[in-house]
């Protein structure tokens, strides 16, 4: 069930890395931002749950576009360490802003789903999680469609392959970058907005999400969308198995152990085509 949201996080991150060559440390904060927007809209203004979901994602897209425009626009072409440091700075500022505004207390969000679980044979699943699962599937499909079947998606793929040539062919690189960052951020915010009502929203929730997104991306190979999708589901499965068979305390370590194993045997990740060894 978590696999879908993991995949959303991973796809967002891998898109941003692949197209913009930026390691996005604010990714986890966008995830937290989505959850907090749900909290604000549902619990404080009392909006409808589904309307709030759409709005939260839209706000995530807007925040992502703003971040790209203010911070990264001028640094296009700067080396990867520089942008990484800028993103770390933005991450610290954003996380503490969240803590300032919503305080350190964990916030729970009401969801409209019945509390009785859905029972299929021997398996019982909460309705909220079923909903999350289907929405993530729809979003993943939509992202694929956007990238493979639209003009913007074509521009994105072109930029991914060769930025300079794409620019020569008349692709507006700036627009593509902003769109990419906004899309990635929107996906992260969607993951947060979906999981917020299942768990709770708290300021440092983004950290774990970000480290997991990194793990997923490494697993699948940086810049590979199919890899990130598969990586998300593999990580979620591995975590559940690890929690069940080893120890629940090490649940969050499973992903990193998986990375280490993969780096030993196949340092290019499961799906990457490109050479990544220096």
């Amino acid at each position: 069930m978590l696999g879908g949201t993991y995949a959303l996080l991973g796809i967002g991150l891998t898109l941003i890395f692949g197209i913009m060559r930026v390691v996005n440390f604010t990714h986890g904060e966008l995830y937290a931002f989505g959850a907090y927007m749900m909290y604000m809209l549902v619990m404080i203004t009392g909006a409808n749950f589904f309307v709030a979901l759409v709005l939260a994602v839209a706000l995530g897209v807007a925040l992502g576009a703003a971040l790209e425009f203010v911070l990264l626009r001028k640094l296009r072409g700067a080396d990867i360490d520089t942008t990484m440091l800028v993103m770390i700075g933005a991450w610290i500022a954003l996380q503490n802003a969240e803590q300032l505004v919503w305080s350190g207390v964990a916030r729970s969000i009401d969801s409209p789903f019945p509390s009785a679980p859905l029972v299929i044979g021997a398996v019982s699943v909460a309705w909220g999680r079923v909903f999350v699962f289907f929405v993530t599937l729809v979003l993943i499909a939509a992202t694929y469609a956007l990238i493979n079947h639209t003009r913007l998606g074509k521009a994105m793929r072109a930029t991914f392959q060769d930025r300079d040539t794409a620019a020569l062919m008349g692709v507006q690189i700036g627009t593509v970058h902003t769109a990419t960052f906004a899309l990635g951020s929107g996906l992260a915010a969607a993951a947060g907005a979906l999981l917020g009502p299942v768990f709770v929203a708290y300021p440092t929730m983004g950290d774990l999400a970000a480290t997991k997104a990194f793990a997923i991306v490494i697993l699948g190979g940086l810049g590979s969308i199919a890899g990130a999708t598969a990586g998300g589901f593999i990580l979620a499965l591995a975590e559940e198995l690890g929690a069940g068979y080893i120890s629940s305390g090490y649940r969050d370590a499973v992903g990193f152990l998986l990375i280490i194993v993969i780096l030993i045997f196949k340092p290019t990740g499961l799906f990457a085509r490109k050479e990544r060894i220096g």
Binding site: T82, M84, L85, I92, A93, L100, I259, R276, G278
Partner: protein, 340 residues
Amino acid sequence: MRKILTALWVLFLFSLPLWMGNQYLLHVLIVTGIFIVAAISLNLLLGYAGQLSLGHVAFFGIGAYASALVSLGFSVHLTPATVLNIEPKPVWCGILAAVLASGICGWFIGRLSFKVRGAYFVIVSIGFAEVARLVAVNWVELTQGPMALNNIPPLTLWLPGLGEHIFWKKPENYWLVLSSAVVSYVIVRRLVRSRAGRAMIALRENEPLATSVGIDVTRYLVLATVVSAAMAGVAGALYAHYIRIVDPDVFLFIYTVTMVIMVVTGGKGTLAGPVVGGLIFGLLPESLRALAIKPEVQWIVYGVLMVLVVYFLPEGIVPAVQQWWQRRKGAVARIAKVAP
């Protein structure tokens, strides 16, 4: 001239506790000094070998835990039947253990992760620190988990003229940390000016070229990681015996970020960089606290400052000052030429 200035500066730093009565400021300086040692070690890897390690805090934390555990003594079940039992050892043994433990981890991580470069290496190093933290939280038998290791003894050392001496007070710890910082500065200086250091710089600048002239890239990268990790381990051990409590929070990502900021703002790949950056970003949170309003605002300012520094001084403070100094000297020389 330069040598005299450096000597005076060091002398000034050493004499500080003699005339400065403010114990709190001294404490801040000690902690800053410990982080400067860690930043110097990171600079070797980031500035000279050109590898951004965002898991550096792992070596720091492993050093802190190793030193604390050896000096406290511990027993741990390796398998349900065999128990490894270590009696409490003197603290200097602990610090040696910290060097060894961190160095070995550095070797292991270096061997493993230099299969990849750039962003991959960064993410792997973050993952390593995260795993180290989770082990510290969950291996309760060894590390006490979140209950933390308490009552870590301070360093006891035989000093000429003083006999057995226990480092209880702040001035003594200040001198200890300052000496360690000077020693690590000298080690890095010797290293980067040696053959190995030139090899590292060569492969930072152009790895294929360095390989083609016969530099064994992996070997030098691993060497840099081991030295850097061992040094960070010493910093961790100093921290453990000064603060005298170690909990899994020493592995928090924010400490790595602090070290990276110190190195980058100071100027990566310059010897003085981590010292200058360390002083600024070690003392800045405290001065912000004096002004400040709320800890969150303090950190927001910190993050924003970091973005601004990267924007305006991408090379760091030390190179910027050096360039300004060069230009000024040039200008003065031109004026001197014109004047007569």
